[in-house]
Symmetry: C2
Subunit: 256 residues, 2 copies
């Protein structure tokens, strides 16, 4: 009998977040799970790594088919440390999430969940990020779980090309219309700060902001899919080279 | 007489680092400069943003054509806060660096310097990151400065397409052979941790590692250029969609 697949899970909302607990629930029937997640919230950690201070990591739960560790670092640190010292063999899959909040469009660049996924992909492991467009700590993830399982099983079966991972976002809508393969929407964050007066003088600033979709009518974009009740699957790549301007740059005068 | 261009500078080594001071020196003849940089080292901050705590920012130097601010947050926070509250008008350019250390190949995904640059690009501003393959605090940047100025002037003159920025890396070699337009090298970090015994039990881990170039003979790659004494200019894009697997994914069974 073939061993069950091994999946490494992490997130950026912290090991205690509901989203990763729901992810565990969805994937336990499918695979053996090793969870290595941050000890607290790391939202917006992107691909950050910790180099100035050392990392701590400890096992907090172990039972057949599941072990759970919490780590002092960033989401990417968790994946690196898991692959270096924790997993018994190279995982068949790395999964990030389920994130409390939307990681479609430009959010991929800030997302700690996608930090997890890109790190798995950089290490040559098929990787998927799952996110729900609901920031609430007690968000209802139940309607996403059949899709989480289905997409995970498809990736286990087909694999993914080297250097490509999946960014999967769910609308906050319990009646899902199905899945669309999408591209990253063009958009921008505006009005990004709330300013307040510091009791000892000067100001301090809270990061906030409003997302502006620059192409709300683009039916092939991930934000359109989410706005219209579909699961958005956005394949995402490691090679960020802009090949399309090589020719143009070759005409610049870059001689000193 | 036309106003001088306005350039926003930031980095991930902190406002006091030699690299950004050298960058200021190189670009003062070219433009008015606003520097908004982290108050201390933020190496490996990637595109991280700060949402759990508020940000502080203060002006530490002002003279004609130059103002300098330090900020409590990440490199991306610095750019966001600068654009929201500090700059007198939308800058003509955002420049990150000069980084103490290599940001070619997969390092683009961890780099706080490239976090700065990608944030500028996300905001629709032409953006460039400069990095030197030398981590030393007192690294010699002098031989890079004519290229920093030249490349900056070319970007000011030609602009860059929306959604594309430049990742420029210098070999640590005072006799530069010229500039090559490159693609991102395929490679991977291995052996990423040093483990030590914690005085109160268990272990702690320092992130370190060895870079493995998976295509050392690829003459169009940025790492090849650096290994052979060239300045590597790697155009980099915001849209990380992997369009090449849309067709393949369309055959998967993603119905629940």
């Amino acid at each position: 009998m073939k061993d069950k697949p091994l999946i490494l899970l992490s997130n950026d909302d912290g090991v205690a977040a509901k989203g990763i607990q729901e992810l565990i629930k969805a994937l336990r029937p499918v695979a053996d799970l090793v969870v290595v997640a941050p000890s607290g919230p790391r939202s917006g950690a992107s691909g950050a790594i910790t180099s100035e201070v050392p990392l701590k990591c400890r096992m907090i739960r172990r039972e057949p088919g599941l072990s759970v560790y919490e780590c002092s670092g960033t989401p990417v640190d968790c994946v690196k440390l898991a692959l270096h010292t924790i997993v018994p063999r190279k995982p068949d899959l790395v999964v990030g999430g389920i994130n409390h909040g939307d990681n479609s469009s430009v959010n991929v660049h800030y997302s700690g969940t996608m930090g997890v996924v890109i790190e798995g992909c950089l290490k040559g492991i098929p990787s998927i990020g799952f996110s729900l467009c609901n920031h609430a700590a007690d968000a209802d993830f139940s309607f996403t779980l059949p899709y989480v399982r289905r997409i995970t099983e498809e990736v286990l079966q087909h694999g993914l090309p080297v250097g490509i991972c999946l960014n999967v976002n769910f609308p906050n809508d319990s009646v899902l219309k199905g899945v669309r393969i999408c591209r990253q929407t063009k958009g921008v964050w505006t009005n990004e700060f709330q300013q307040a007066v510091h009791p000892r003088g000067g100001h301090y600033y809270w990061l906030t902001g409003e997302y502006r979709n620059d192409e709300p009518e683009a039916e092939d974009s991930d934000h359109w899919a989410l706005d219209h009740g579909y699961v958005a699957v956005t394949p995402t790549k490691i090679d960020v080279t802009a090949y399309e301007i090589f020719e143009e740059l070759s005409h610049w005068n870059l001689t000193v």
